[in-house]
């Protein structure tokens, strides 16, 4: 049983890489489209709304298959790794965008009025006034989304990427020891999720100091 562990851990490393990159790019998408949705520019706004609705309204696996199987027919061929990261980050980014929008909208209106009174441009108001207050509010839901994303990475095994779920499936085909293999796989995913949750908690604590009246 233990001789299968190195293979699984090798797959777990692919899972970690996928989670890292897609969470990072997903966070960028969240801010871009979450702020875009609040923009006064109708083009930016409608593009953001369309992106959020399409990626939240359809299934992740459908998006992944579309990017991997259908996009090449339009002349865009992506490697499994790129396709996987693209699907995961675009998907999680759409959920994150709603979090960003909600947190920015939750900043009291008087803050914006005060920035206006101090002659801040709208970008300055966003950057210096709204975001520092909104960021601590975003982190707990972002933590949940990061764990969600970690779990979603298992789906890349269906577009031939050799991650943890993929290797478990190959090992089962080879050895038929399904109980041990899937048991270990579930435990590895669980351990990864616990580590990720702990990392997000640390981040929450550090950025929580930015809260209004902070500096404690």
């Amino acid at each position: 049983m233990l001789d299968m562990l190195p293979t699984l851990l090798g797959g777990a490393w692919v899972t970690v890489e996928l989670t890292f990159w897609s969470t990072l790019i997903g966070a960028l998408c969240s801010f871009a489209f979450g702020i875009g949705r609040l923009s006064g520019n109708p083009v930016v706004k409608s593009v953001s709304v369309a992106y959020i609705e399409v990626f939240r309204g359809t299934s992740l696996l459908v998006q992944m298959f579309w990017i991997f199987f259908a996009l090449p027919l339009m002349g865009v061929s992506l490697s499994p790794m790129t396709a996987g990261i693209a699907a995961l980050s675009l998907n999680i980014g759409a959920y994150g965008a709603e979090v960003v929008r909600g947190a920015i909208q939750a900043v009291p209106k008087s803050q914006y009025e005060a920035s206006r009174a101090l002659n801040f441009t709208s970008w300055q108001a966003l950057w210096y006034v709204a975001l520092p207050q909104a960021l601590p509010e975003m982190l707990p839901p972002f933590g949940n989304l990061a764990v969600q994303n970690l779990k979603d990475t298992a789906l890349v095994s269906l577009i031939t990427l050799s991650d943890l779920a993929f290797r478990a499936e190959s090992l089962r085909n080879l050895t038929q020891k399904s109980t041990e293999i899937y048991g270990m796989t579930l435990l590895i995913y669980f351990a990864l999720a616990l580590v990720l949750t702990a990392v997000m908690k640390v981040l929450e604590k550090r950025i929580g100091r930015w809260k209004a009246g902070g500096g404690r």
Binding site: E53, V54, R56, G57, T58, S59, L60, L61, V62, Q63, F65, W66, F69, A70, L73, M74, V147, K151, D152, T153, A154, L155, S157, L158, A165, A168, E169, R172, S178, T179, Y182, G183, T185, L186, Y189, F190, A193, L194, T197
Partner: protein, 230 residues
């Protein structure tokens, strides 16, 4: 040919039109799996929520751990586990049932939180007032707490119903012929992936928009202060 329908490859439009009934066939399976999975999640989640609130730590701690474990592991691997491990112990379920159970297990972790939050959101004064009026614990729960918790619980459950619907395509790995699997098979046989997969995306968008419209309508209809249960 699939489900007795032929596809017509003369042009993109005729192809799209000819595979629509096949995809709708798959959509029916998607909806069935969603409803069954949701039912299991709703019932199992309630069981977990009640056990987790138990005053005995010997019950509440292990249940809390199990819920956390279900929440933190991928649906795909849980599904593989059920599909390949259960038969070793003599439990043989059809692929569709295995899939629905996997959906139910994964989402029971989420629904149990919904129940817990809904019940905890009812103010403590309500319990104390019931105690003062000499109501039994069972009466307090079923007649005072639950009717006030239900309006908070239902919309949140509705959102998880939509999430379950979006996770149904994962069941395709254990040969369930839901919408995405059907589209994939059409693609494998005709080498036309773009049209079937795009149509599945569109149909999903329609389904989720319709479902979220229903959930929102339900949310506004529910009396905010509680439902009298008789």
């Amino acid at each position: 040919m699939l489900f007795g329908y032929h596809w017509d490859l003369t042009s993109n439009w005729t192809f799209a039109l000819s595979i629509l009934p096949i995809l709708l066939h798959g959509m029916l399976v998607t909806i069935e799996a969603t409803l069954l999975g949701f039912f299991i999640a709703a019932v199992l989640g309630l069981v977990f929520a009640v056990l987790r609130g138990s005053p005995t730590r010997l019950i509440s701690y292990p249940v809390a751990f199990i819920v956390e474990f279900f929440r933190d592991t991928p649906l795909l691997v849980q599904l593989y586990f059920l599909y390949f491990v259960l038969p070793n112990y003599g439990i043989l379920l059809p692929a569709f049932m295995t899939g629905a159970v996997a959906l139910g297990i994964q989402y029971s972790a989420y629904t149990s939180e919904v129940y817990r939050a809904g019940i905890e959101a009812v103010s403590r004064g309500q319990t104390e007032a019931s105690r003062a009026l000499n109501l039994s614990r069972a009466d307090t729960f079923t007649r005072i707490i639950l009717p006030q918790a239900v309006p908070r619980i239902i919309p949140a459950l509705g959102n998880y119903l939509i999430s379950i619907m979006k996770d149904v395509p994962v069941l395709s790995v254990v040969t369930v012929l839901e919408m995405l699997n059907v589209a994939k098979i059409i693609g494998d046989r005709t080498f036309q992936y773009l049209i079937p997969l795009t149509m599945v995306g569109g149909l999903y968008l329609l389904l989720t928009l319709f479902a979220s419209f229903l959930v929102r309508a339900l949310d506004t209809r529910l009396p905010k202060r509680g439902i009298p249960l008789k």
